[in-house]
Symmetry: C2
Subunit: 517 residues, 2 copies
């Protein structure tokens, strides 16, 4: 193993690198029967295979199809020719069905527009909505790839505080309500960029109530909500710590059982478990949603789509004509034919398989944390203002000091939100507990920065590669850590069971050594 | 036949709609043996078939190749995964060989960057070079698709006069030398957009001397030359009117003969016949060249590349990361493997086949003009200031008036430059010869506009569809025709021999009726 978590390859696709082959599955199942992950693997195997069907989908795309006027027709003679910027009719045809059934927009005349991936979509949205020097609302931790797109517009980022459920509507209200244009020398922001599901890097997911509250603030101040949802179909729900399965509510157990069913009932239970899209509350047409095939079929396909109101679709179509034009006909023809082969239900079945894969990997990761650290649940601290959903980790090497009755224990080392979607866990490390922390401060040094860098290097020397958190810091205030916390992002998207366990074990050993425990 | 020339489908690709199938070729050859086009068809047929080889290139792209570290390796496991913005190494590897051998840049450290087609490339170049409100130098007739990309930057177009060889360096010098920043309220333009080969819409091609003169003016005023070369490999050379073959110079005849050879000698003769790229004169690194696979393999592939200095390549790579990222892995994998299968010489052979196709269609078109109109060569008039390379058409219905000895003839109807490359012929119609022209002027009407629109409608009613010239008018001065000329662009890219002849015959009949001849 070269690295337990590789930054460069954190978002591998299930097609290109992810889902185990069917023939390897039985071997896996036997080898891992002793772990509780075996049930997840069984579940995954179920979605990956259709009785009596080959595991490989095969199809041929003709040069001339039998009925070229059929809007669902896919043929090379049109796919490889110039096309309108909206691409071949067959793909939007499927996407409209998907959006209607899955995202359920609150108004009737929404439409979709395909693009060459969500980054391209976001680039066109920025071109449409931003003037030079505008301010833009972002989560306090956000995806630097999205920032790279708007920074050339000399855009000022306005970070909004988060908790374990993402953006805080109260802080959004404070920022917008308190905006003084003459004092700031800038118009009040009119654009919000958010990753509602499996937020990158925090792993937080906004559920219905949170989204509703944010939508209302955006209505009040006329803000356009740009929701970037690469991880939406990778929503896995809460992690249930080992030994607490029986604590689950009857409703949660019933839902989990319903989702294990095959066929339409199981598909419906999968769809019902997804968080509602901002589109479902969008009575004004102020939401622009970005989706991508990168996380569900292949990142290399460079294919995604935007769902929004016709007024935005029209402008974005013009922008598409003057830049990328329609996505590659190779990508649209192959992806569309694959989905047509499956049909809507087959595509949902495929997404359930992906969910099972990511849920399995997330469970492996969180379970390993439970195995190698002492965990305290819902402990909350000023890393995450809301107490719920957080987990704080203590070293097991401090076991001699650990005495629950007397309340004695070693220092808190890590706090994180167990991810509910996506591919990432975001760790806050309590560097203020490090023996050198206050010495460094006294010497006028940036203690948190120094310790974050030092630990990252020690981990890298031990072949554990984390993404340092400062790259995701939208406001820059976390990088210079006044409160003594440092951050790293871990990806569990491609690692095997053995790699994850090995990596986290090694991480805990390095951590003990680093904190001199 | 629905329309002799369809605007919507003027630039069909050879793969998707163009080259005749091998099995149809013999039939064609027999049927057309009486036309001089038969020799062109024979030539084409030669390039399309390799003795002992199937006409179809077949290959398989493996999920994992035998040697993934080979820079020329193409495998799905990397093509369908996230890739650097520069794409798979194998494609730039080939393109660097192609650029070095075909464009021969005048400096050593140039590089290439792939993109999702020339429009995408141009969009990124505009983002890199233009500030809001800048002025940009363009040909007086230009491609509106390129304008759509920079118009949102509130860019002011500065049209430069053209002749049958494209941009006039003297006018470029006048405009730049006479630029008064305080008077214009704008900085002197620093960017020139040009289509040097088979210019869209005029069909003009700049040869070496013209390019050298323009490059010197751009050096003097520090202008970046952006050369958009979709039609470069579609350079066909001059049209030889029927009956004038024996007038060709010995040198020209020798060149034509050399190009008919198969193998490396013929390939080299093809390359030697191409106009030199601006890159070949670029001692400063001020040229940004755009190329595309749209016109040589398939427009639907959405694949192209930029060749320029490393300073521009670096900035464009950053822009690519923040927008499209690498082109679709489906497009790069399939295109690269196809080219690898052929090798450099095989790709040049393919391009020779395309040249033969377009040359054939161009000859059909020009020959048909010669059949249905009286032609006068190098007649020159104020439509095109340089007398050479122009052809003026008179109606054959005025034959009774035609008496060369007495110098009597009917009115001049059309002047055009026989195209030397590309897919277009640009016609200037002498509306000042129309019986109503002066009446309309006296009534204060825009006579040229009215007559251009009326003729277009009459042609459309007769299923002949031209693109009106005003869409290509960069300065707006040609649309309000003070001199009494109106313009249309014809495409000969996809039409068959019968369609071209039928369309032009019908055009001449409508013209006679319209001019009341």
């Amino acid at each position: 193993m070269d690295a337990a978590f590789a930054i460069a390859s954190q978002t591998q696709s299930p097609v290109a690198g992810g889902l185990p082959k069917a023939q390897d599955m039985t071997r896996h199942l036997n080898r891992m029967a002793k772990h509780r992950e075996a049930s997840a693997l069984k579940e995954l195997y179920k979605y990956m295979t259709v009785p009596g069907m080959s595991n490989t989908v095969s199809f041929t795309i003709p040069k001339y199809g039998p009925n070229p006027r059929d809007p669902a027709a896919i043929q090379l003679s049109t796919s490889l020719q110039y096309q309108p910027a909206t691409g071949p009719p067959a793909l939007p045809l499927f996407l409209r069905e998907f959006v209607a059934k899955v995202f359920k927009p609150a108004y009737a005349d929404w439409d979709v527009l395909i693009n060459v991936g969500a980054t391209d979509g976001w680039s066109k949205i920025c071109g449409m909505l931003l003037e030079i020097g505008d301010a833009i609302l972002v989560e306090e931790w956000t995806y630097p790839g999205a920032e790279n797109t708007f920074i050339p517009y000399e855009t000022e980022r306005v970070p909004i505080k988060m908790d374990g459920q993402g953006l805080l509507p109260e802080h959004l209200e404070n920022v917008l309500g308190g905006w003084d244009e003459s004092e700031r020398g800038k118009k009040r922001p009119r654009v919000l960029y958010t990753i509602p599901t499996g937020q990158n890097p925090t792993g937080a997911t906004m559920m219905a109530d949170r989204k509703k509250a944010i939508y209302e603030v955006c209505q009040k101040y006329d803000v356009v909500i740009c929701e970037d949802e690469p991880y939406y179909c990778l929503y896995t729900g809460e992690w249930t710590p080992k030994g607490s399965e029986s604590d689950m509510s009857i409703l949660a157990q019933r839902k989990q059982k319903a989702e294990k069913k095959d066929g339409p009932d199981g598909n419906q239970a999968f769809l019902d478990a997804l968080p509602p899209s901002f589109l479902a509350f969008d009575t004004d047409g102020r939401v622009i949603r970005m989706d991508t095939f990168s996380k569900t079929s292949a990142p290399g396909s460079r294919l995604g789509w935007i769902t929004t109101s016709p007024i935005f679709i029209e402008r974005l179509t013009r922008a598409t004509e003057a830049s990328t034009q329609a996505p590659s006909g190779f990508a649209t023809a192959l992806t569309t034919r694959m989905i047509q082969q499956w049909g809507f239900d087959g595509y949902i079945r495929w997404l359930r398989g992906i969910k099972a894969t990511y849920n399995m990997r997330k469970t492996w990761l969180c379970d390993t944390f439970q195995d190698v650290f002492h965990l305290e649940f819902d402990s909350g601290n000023d890393l995450f203002p809301e107490r719920s959903r957080t987990v704080t980790c203590y070293s097991k090497q401090t076991k001699s000091l650990w005495d629950e009755k007397r309340g004695l224990r070693g220092p808190a080392l890590i706090t994180f939100i167990p991810p509910t979607a996506g591919m990432f866990v975001f760790l806050g490390i309590h560097f203020s507990e490090h023996p050198d922390y206050y010495d460094l401060l006294r010497r006028g040094e940036d203690a948190t920065f120094i310790l974050t860098k030092k630990l990252w290097e020690m981990l890298a020397d031990n072949l554990v590669l984390f993404a340092p958190g400062w790259g995701f810091d939208a406001g820059g205030e976390h990088a210079i850590g006044g409160k003594g916390y440092g951050y790293y992002r871990l990806a569990f998207s491609v690692a095997s069971y053995e790699e994850i366990r090995d990596g986290i074990y090694r991480f805990s050993q390095v951590l003990d050594k680093f904190f001199r425990i």
